[in-house]
Symmetry: C2
Subunit: 233 residues, 2 copies
């Protein structure tokens, strides 16, 4: 039985989060972009999208601004919105920025490790090692990196992470789609890379965790470069 005294609210009860239409629109559109349902380079018209989703333009507008911060759409100088296309240079940027941000997160996670975090990470890695479905692999892969970011306990680092997270997801999904289309078995990239990071974090070895993370993302980058060359050829 929990107390209902408002002056002692630390009973595990949290303030009710209000979900706005803008957030829901952003989620839906982001997913549609990541999944390739909305193609790269597509123009996005506020009125049309609003009509499709049966909401007014206002939440749509706010959602698009959010997605711009996520780096998955961009506005031209006239205010027109379109789904972003990723050049080879963009991929390089995403890789190098991820390295910087995630090396930091891995180091902090190693330093601040708690029992709960350790459990979540172990669970995630084990689940990934047994998973075969591509969509679930993607989800678990991203979740691993999210968990470490969370574990770093650095709210502003998390803010930065949000500026690349969706782009990371997008590239990941794109790569998996390409591999499936060409009957290439989905890489065991994450499988090989995550375990060493986990081990280093569990050992509270910041240097080793950072190094493992750097290498992991470096490998991912090379995978993407190769893929990029193939897809453009």
């Amino acid at each position: 039985m929990i107390s209902l005294d408002a002056s002692a609210p630390e009973q595990g009860l949290q303030p009710v989060r209000r979900f706005t239409l803008a957030e829901e629109v952003a989620d839906q559109v982001r997913r549609a972009i990541i999944s390739g349902q909305i193609a790269e380079g597509s123009a996005i018209s506020e009125p049309k999208l609003a009509a499709q989703l049966a909401v007014s333009r206002v939440p749509v507008r706010e959602a698009l601004v959010e997605l711009e911060h996520d780096g998955v759409v961009e506005f031209d100088h006239r205010g027109r919105c379109q789904v972003r296309q990723f050049s080879a240079e963009d991929v390089r940027e995403i890789v190098t920025l991820r390295q910087t941000l995630e090396v930091m997160s891995a180091r902090l996670a190693a330093q601040k490790l708690t029992a709960e975090t350790a459990a979540s990470l172990q669970e995630n890695v084990q689940a990934l090692e047994q998973e075969t479905d591509v969509t679930n692999i993607s989800r678990l892969d991203v979740a691993f990196h999210d968990l470490i970011m969370q574990a770093a306990g650095h709210s502003r680092l998390l803010t930065c992470w949000r500026t690349v997270r969706a782009q990371f997801e997008l590239l990941l999904a794109k790569a998996h789609r390409w591999q499936q289309a060409h009957d290439i078995p989905v890489t065991d990239h994450a499988l090989r890379g995550h375990r060493p990071i986990l081990t280093a974090i569990l050992a509270r070895d910041a240097d080793k965790a950072g190094q493992a993370m750097r290498q992991h993302i470096e490998d991912w980058g090379e995978l993407n470069y190769k893929l990029g060359m193939d897809t453009e050829a």
Copy 2:
């Protein structure tokens, strides 16, 4: 005489940038917050602000979202907006995140150095060394770090930088105000710190540039901690 053939537009002419009310509102409010004109913790009401600025709520709303991304205001779970207050932990986060981002920028700037960048940086450092007005010192200090970010030529790193830039400016302005109020001469912190960074970048020594930057921000952090202790006591 320049060609007006639209099919050959690379004549130094650029697409006309359209400035929106939202951007102007964001600029004004950001400046007001940084300068302390709007106090930390103040509630910001959309209708009131809109009335003061003689615009509708829509651009104000967009501006506040922008300022939230800048980290200078926050929305509570009810959607109420208020000017953010910075705890000691916040200052630590800002310092450590700046270290990560700016070490990267310094390294890249050293690697990609161009003649123009070199000139701008030298000009900036010289101007700072001769400047005595506090406001101008702040401006030049921030500009130095902006220049290096620009020189890094990494659009996504710049995006991350924007999530802390205003908070950096805010802390800087706050420190200067406090120092002035107590008749303490404005620190020569930037003066001492920038020159070594410049030298390393000009020498195209990424390691040294990164190390100098890390040290510079570390020093700035310690300055802020001391100040924080004084102001809270």
